[in-house]
């Protein structure tokens, strides 16, 4: 079987049609057929369908979507909400922006079906502030959908009402964490909430809320159209369906490759035309910088939720950043730490202070003034952040630190013992960032 047969263009397929963001073109390409079909079904049957499909969240955690929908209490007299997490910002991740830019109606259609299933009459798409062109297209699509009767009162004559608002964030990575996102959407600083209670019962405005990623919701119309069995014909037993792998870095053709879950990095690199000339694979992230780095020996790891976990990392957002022997893993980790330090919301002391100090230790090492003790300090700090913060940002920050020390300790020692020339100057040490 050729590697090309691993490609499964489903969610990305309409991107080839340059005007698919317009409602008339979208409708010609099966658009809104799923909404029409779903609104004739019983909401519980839709939840069962999504459960049967095995769809798991595409935002990184991989939680079963149907199960999440099923947690919403029914007949509780409270308003229900659907909130789409479109705050794409995990370093390396770049799949939701093209989807919303080139096929915004598929997300809206998914919102209609999901809202109907969980009995929500209001839905919000919380889109990253910087994603301005995606937001333009999305807002335009929402207007078109209202005009065509897919949104608003009595949708398609079924008696179902749905209002959909596109809400732009304002530049805070933490708002991609679902409870921080809810706080932000309520008009507060985006800081994570203590759980329990979970959003399923106490989400937006303390009401039952489903928070799903863009890719998750955009998958729903296809499952409604093609059925659970068809969806499960792609991917692996526990990780069903297609997934958009976002390849970046030292490969010949970076980009978006939608394949069945479980493809390997070796196959992805082959799809991407191989490594760039003169570059040899050294380290990579399976799904963003918050997922522990893997090394060249993991090139045949199946990239589904189970396979990557067995290799000691996390599938995450399948943001596959590929680095070569010409990239410095210590510097790469340092730069990610600068990011986590900047983006820590400050609520939890281990994350706020730990990242601040780890950045300083990295600067010292990269300036040629590190000590062997610094490596113990890094591990100790990471150990004190891991599991001791409200949300995953803190845990995520430790991923590149501990994994790079696990696979590439020698690279650190080379700085400390003077075999690698300092990468940062004394100016950086003074805190020039």
């Amino acid at each position: 079987m050729s590697v090309y047969e691993k490609l499964t263009p489903v969610l990305t397929k309409r991107w080839l049609s340059p005007d698919a963001w317009r409602i008339d073109v979208y409708e010609r390409l099966d658009g809104y057929a799923a909404a029409k079909k779903a609104l004739q079904a019983h909401p519980d049957d839709l939840i069962a369908l999504i459960k049967d499909s095995g769809l798991r969240g595409r935002g990184g955690a991989g939680f079963p979507t149907g199960l999440k929908w099923g947690f919403i209490p029914q007949n509780d007299g409270k308003p229900h909400y659907l909130v789409v997490n479109a705050d794409e910002g995990e370093p390396g991740t770049c799949k939701d922006l093209p989807l919303m830019t080139h096929d915004p109606h598929s997300l809206i259609e998914g919102c209609i079906i999901a809202s109907y299933a969980i009995r929500a009459n209001r839905a919000y798409i919380y889109i990253r502030g910087e994603a301005v062109h995606a937001a333009r297209r999305l807002r335009n699509a929402v207007q078109e959908a209202y005009k065509a009767g897919y949104l608003g009162k009595n949708i398609l004559g079924t008696g179902f009402d749905l209002d959909l608002v596109v809400h732009s964030g304002a530049g805070a990575y933490i708002c991609g964490e679902e409870t921080a996102l809810l706080d932000s959407l309520e008009g507060f600083r985006g800081q994570p909430r203590l759980r329990p209670p979970f959003p399923a019962t106490h989400g937006l405005y303390a009401s039952p809320t489903v928070v799903n990623n863009v890719g998750t919701i955009a998958s729903v119309p296809y499952i409604v159209l093609g059925g659970a069995a068809w969806w499960k014909s792609m991917g692996t037993e526990k990780s069903s369906g297609p997934m958009i792998y976002s390849l970046s870095g030292r490969i010949k053709n970076p980009g978006q490759y939608e394949c069945g879950l479980g493809i390997t990095l070796r196959e992805l690199i082959e799809l991407a035309g191989g490594m760039q000339d003169g570059h040899e694979l050294k380290f990579w992230t399976p799904g963003g910088s918050s997922t522990p780095l893997l090394a060249a020996q993991h090139i045949d790891t199946p990239m589904d939720f189970e396979g990557v976990a067995a290799a000691g990392s996390i599938l995450g957002t399948t943001a596959t950043q590929i680095f070569s022997d010409q990239d410095c893993v210590v510097y790469a980790t340092y730069r990610w730490l600068e990011f986590y330090h900047h983006e820590s919301c400050g609520k939890c002391t281990p994350c706020r202070e730990g990242n601040y100090w780890m950045v300083r230790v990295y600067r010292r090492i990269l300036s040629g003034e590190g000590t062997h003790e610094d490596l113990d300090t890094l591990l100790d700090t990471a150990d004190n952040i891991m599991g001791r913060s409200f949300c995953g940002l803190g845990d995520g920050a430790t991923s590149p630190v501990t994994s790079s020390l696990q696979w590439f300790k020698q690279d650190y020692l080379d700085y400390i013992e003077g075999r690698t020339a300092p990468k940062l100057s004394a100016k950086a040490l003074a805190g020039a960032h």
Partner: protein, 231 residues
């Protein structure tokens, strides 16, 4: 006399109406974008305006405004130039781009040129790693940039030109962009249609097309199983 016109006050009301009754605080983020569209930053007047509209204390509004990177605390230039210096863009040359712009413009992070045209910043991951290194002007993308190209770009901006972004819409000013961020449509004729998908976006699709690959067995008439049938 307030700097916020009747039109802005009407827009503030429109923003509030997007959220359920009694939950008007949800309007705060878009409203901060709105006041930024008037002054180019969130000024003390802007904070007071939001507080008045939403029945909040100024301190509550200030605490939120200072949390988010996109709300600027000092007057900005017409063009916000953001260079991604997160790891991937960084190693692909983004740091060199940022350093070159710093030197050429004579400003550092979150600083504005004396002529008031450009505010420079280094940005965290902008979700376009397959196009790296990237920079944005008022958040629209310029892909695969290098130091010389970036310097040329900002020089054009300073000379009053508006180069076309690689994928997004034609450029507007940061104030004009902030109206869109507040949730209002881009009413420039044709701007929504601007921008085509680049090669990386279509990389996998074109391969599948070339090799005639598509998922098998997709039938849009597949019935949705009902609970009765299953039982």
């Amino acid at each position: 006399m307030t700097v916020f016109s009747q039109e802005i006050q009407d827009r503030a009301k429109e923003i509030i109406a997007r959220y359920p009754e009694g939950k008007q605080r949800s309007a705060l983020l878009p409203m901060l974008h709105l006041v930024q569209s008037v002054e180019g930053y969130v000024s003390p007047d802007g904070i007071e305006f939001c507080a008045d509209q939403l029945g909040l204390q100024k301190a509550n509004v200030g605490a939120v405004a200072s949390f988010y990177t996109m709300y600027k605390r000092r007057p900005t230039g017409d063009f916000l130039v953001s260079v991604c210096t997160n790891t991937m863009c960084n190693v692909l040359g983004g740091q060199a781009v940022y350093d070159a712009l710093t030197e050429h413009l004579g400003v550092g992070h979150d600083e504005t040129t004396a002529d008031g045209t450009i505010t420079l910043e280094h940005a965290e991951c902008l979700a376009a790693c397959d196009y790296g290194p990237v920079m944005t002007v008022n958040y629209d993308f310029f892909d695969g940039v290098n130091p010389d190209g970036a310097v040329e770009l900002v020089d054009k901006l300073r000379q009053g030109e508006r180069p076309q972004p690689s994928r997004g819409a034609r450029l507007c000013t940061l104030k004009e962009m902030s109206i869109q961020l507040a949730g209002f449509a881009d009413d420039r004729d044709g701007a929504v249609a601007d921008g085509v998908a680049g090669d990386p976006t279509l990389a996998g699709l074109k391969l599948a097309q070339k090799h005639g690959v598509s998922p098998k067995g997709f039938d849009i008439n597949t019935p949705i199983p009902t609970a009765e049938k299953k039982a």
